[in-house]
């Protein structure tokens, strides 16, 4: 039986021999370790999400118990800013999909692909 080179004899996909090399963190700036050492942890995304959800929930709950006095009546509705903020952000980001397809062209479209100024560091 002919087996494609990337599969084993039972037809399963083989793990590629050379994984993309993991960037080296040994030479991390000492200040980075101190300030942002937590960023690289695998649990960080979940904890950040949890924190943001808790803060958002807290803000809505507080809004329910607090009587606001806005110039515009409809803005007094509980959670108005929350909904508007979420929807506006989502609309702006999601519009990126069709707009990207519509407006994105090759980098050299105007013949101006090279825009690196001459004052970048030369001897990196």
């Amino acid at each position: 039986m002919n087996v494609p080179p990337e599969r084993d004899s039972s037809g399963r996909f083989l793990k590629p021999e050379h994984d993309e090399p993991k960037p080296n963190d040994d030479d991390m700036h000492p200040m980075s370790k101190l300030l942002f050492g937590w960023v690289g942890s695998p649990r960080t995304p979940f904890i950040v999400l949890l924190l943001v959800v808790l803060i958002c929930a807290g803000l809505v709950v507080f809004d329910l118990s607090h009587n606001r006095h806005e110039y515009l009546d409809f803005a007094n509705a509980n959670g108005f800013y929350a909904i508007w903020g979420f929807a506006a952000f989502a609309l702006a980001v999601l519009s990126g999909w069709p707009l990207g397809k519509l407006l994105r062209r090759d980098e050299d479209y105007y013949g101006e692909a090279d825009t690196t100024p001459q004052d970048v560091e030369q001897d990196k």
Partner: protein
């Protein structure tokens, strides 16, 4: 003594030292001057008496007011001077005479234009800002930068020409060149001057010069450019067109449309340029409202914006300097090697997003309140949408894709010390003017400088001091609503990212309305050139051919070698001449 010093125009000082700086070859001497001059200029400004003509000159029977300080020009002038100091520190690692000198001259021209007391002086410095700033783009040294610089210069000079047209109309109809606010577009010159300001303020469809030129400028150049030209135009609008309703709608559109371009743009300096447009929209909208609260909002926003936008451009410049690119698709994980730049960028990002405790919060609040209190519901909703949009492109996209996100594996040195110092100073101001008033710190310092305070004269605000109500940004309502808006937008970002709905950063050129003149427009001009190149010689050949053939015919007939001169016909010619003469004489005889 202080009276005498108070009459020295700080802007003019910057212009003169800037131009002189272009000829000082010793780097450290030149740069010491570039740093010291804005400091001296700030001291001079504090000594200036408000509301009087401090320096005048008579040219061609026109009394020009070179230096006049009032509550509106003071805050803009001071912001420009602080920016020029930060820019000079940020540029210390480079040895570029032309860039150093022109950056200071450009700042000085903007300051001088701010303190100009008449339209002609404004025009002169308006043009100097255009001519001096173009070098900051040209010095990038690329073909793209050269072409963008030429387009930039053309647009800027055109704005100056419109201003000159406008002031000529004003002078002819009123006999005065004063900077009095217009009350209607029907006044002579109002439309021209409005158009001149509109170009420099990068109104929609006139905005392309900004996104075209700034990202192609030098690293230092982009930082310098971000501070002056557009805010000078904002000042000019606040001075001459406050309360024009059209500005409310234009401003609202300006806040919204760049959001969509910034989402898909890959070059982060271009993202910041779109963000600049969005921020200008808030200021223009506030000027359109024109109430004291709104004018204060515009001025405070301009002050805060000059600092945090400069800070964001500085952080992207530091990345570009070390890494060699500012494209989101190639960056990521830089917090591992540039922690200080990361922190300063985050401070700029939360300031522009208007998080409580940062400068954007206390500045934008006044504009939002002014728009809501005047009952412009749709405009207010547009500004609220744009506030979430700012968070997207400047608050999250810029720091996240540069310093966090996917680790690009790039490991570089931290930014040079002078860059960090300039960023640190800008970050300090962002926090210092954003905090609640504690001791000498806090937003109170900024609010005391605003154009419409209870002690400010009525000429700027069209209202006496007693009628102006003090504004407090740190109310429970405002903190709660702003945090709701921003935190739910952050939640949206995390969820969109988690579910793979956030569009990936891809390299490419994003088409904007400048496509119209850069592709079809340029194509038509090129086609017309080609057609003329071929049709011109053909037409010349055709006309010349007719001339040559006519001459040949006449020569073959009438010349000494011609048909009529040959043999018996010579006699014939004489005979025909006599006959013709006879006929003419006969006609004359009959006619008389």
């Amino acid at each position: 003594m202080s009276g005498l010093l108070g009459q020295i125009n700080p802007g003019l000082l910057l212009v003169l030292v800037g131009f002189a700086g272009c000829f000082i070859p010793v780097q450290r001497v030149r740069q010491a001057l570039m740093v010291a001059t804005p400091v001296v200029a700030m001291l001079l400004l504090t000594l200036a008496e408000r509301g009087t003509d401090l320096s005048t000159v008579s040219v061609l029977d026109m009394e020009l007011i070179l230096y006049r300080v009032d509550s509106l020009s003071f805050i803009f002038g001071l912001a420009f001077l602080i920016a020029s100091l930060l820019n000079a520190i940020y540029a210390l690692h480079t040895d570029d005479r032309l860039q150093d000198g022109m950056a200071l001259a450009y700042a000085g021209a903007a300051v001088s234009a701010t303190f100009a007391g008449d339209l002609m002086t404004l025009f002169v410095f308006w043009e100097i800002t255009a001519v001096s700033s173009v070098f900051l783009i040209l010095r990038a040294g690329t073909k793209a930068a050269y072409q963008a610089a030429m387009r930039y210069l053309g647009v800027q000079i055109f704005s100056g020409v419109l201003l000159l047209d406008g002031l000529a109309y004003v002078y002819k109809s009123t006999g005065s060149l004063s900077l009095d606010a217009f009350t209607s577009f029907d006044q002579p010159g109002a439309k021209f001057i409005f158009a001149a300001f509109a170009i420099k303020a990068a109104f929609p469809f006139m905005h392309n010069w900004l996104q075209d030129a700034y990202p192609k400028a030098t690293i230092v150049g982009a930082v310098v450019l971000s501070a002056f030209t557009t805010k000078l135009a904002v000042y000019a609008f606040a001075r001459m067109f406050p309360g024009f309703e059209m500005l409310i709608w234009i401003g609202a559109v300006m806040t919204v449309f760049p959001v969509f371009f910034a989402v898909i743009e890959n070059d982060l300096r271009k993202v910041l340029s779109y963000s600049l447009n969005n921020q200008l929209g808030f200021m223009i909208c506030a000027i359109g409202i024109g109430t004291p609260l709104a004018l204060n909002g515009a001025a405070a926003h301009a002050f805060a914006h000059i600092i945090y936008k400069g800070l964001l451009f500085m952080s992207m410049g530091a990345v570009l300097y070390r890494v060699g690119t500012a494209k989101a698709s190639e960056l990521g994980g830089l917090y591992k090697s540039m922690p200080w730049t990361t922190i300063f960028c985050i401070i700029g990002a939360v300031s522009i997003s208007a998080f409580p405790l940062f400068s954007g919060f206390v500045a934008k609040a006044m504009t939002m309140s002014a728009v809501a209190s005047e009952g412009y519901v749709i405009v207010w909703l547009m500004l609220l949408f744009a506030s979430a949009g700012v968070l997207e492109h400047s608050g999250i996209k810029i720091p996240y894709f540069t310093f966090f996100g996917h680790d690009s594996g790039i490991r570089v040195k931290e930014a040079p010390f002078n860059m960090l110092l300039a960023m640190g100073m800008a970050a300090f101001i962002c926090i210092a003017i954003g905090l609640p008033t504690i001791g000498g710190f806090g937003y109170g310092w900024l609010y005391n400088m605003l154009p419409c305070t209870t002690t400010a004269p009525a000429d700027v605000c069209m209202m006496t001091g007693d009628e102006i109500k003090p504004y407090s940004p740190y109310t429970l309502d405002h903190i709660l609503t702003q945090l709701q808006l921003l935190m739910f937008a952050v939640l949206a970002f995390i969820l969109l990212k988690r579910f793979g709905l956030y569009p990936p950063e891809r390299p490419g050129t994003i088409l904007d309305t400048d496509w119209l003149y850069r592709k079809p427009g340029y194509g038509m001009v090129k086609w017309a050139g080609t057609v003329w190149g071929k049709a011109g010689p053909a037409m010349t050949a055709f006309v010349t051919g007719i001339g040559v053939r006519t001459f040949e015919k006449i020569e073959t007939t009438f010349s000494p070698r011609g048909a009529l001169a040959r043999g018996p016909l010579t006699v014939g010619m004489a005979l025909w001449s006599a006959v013709l003469l006879g006929i003419v004489m006969l006609v004359v005889l009959i006619a008389s």
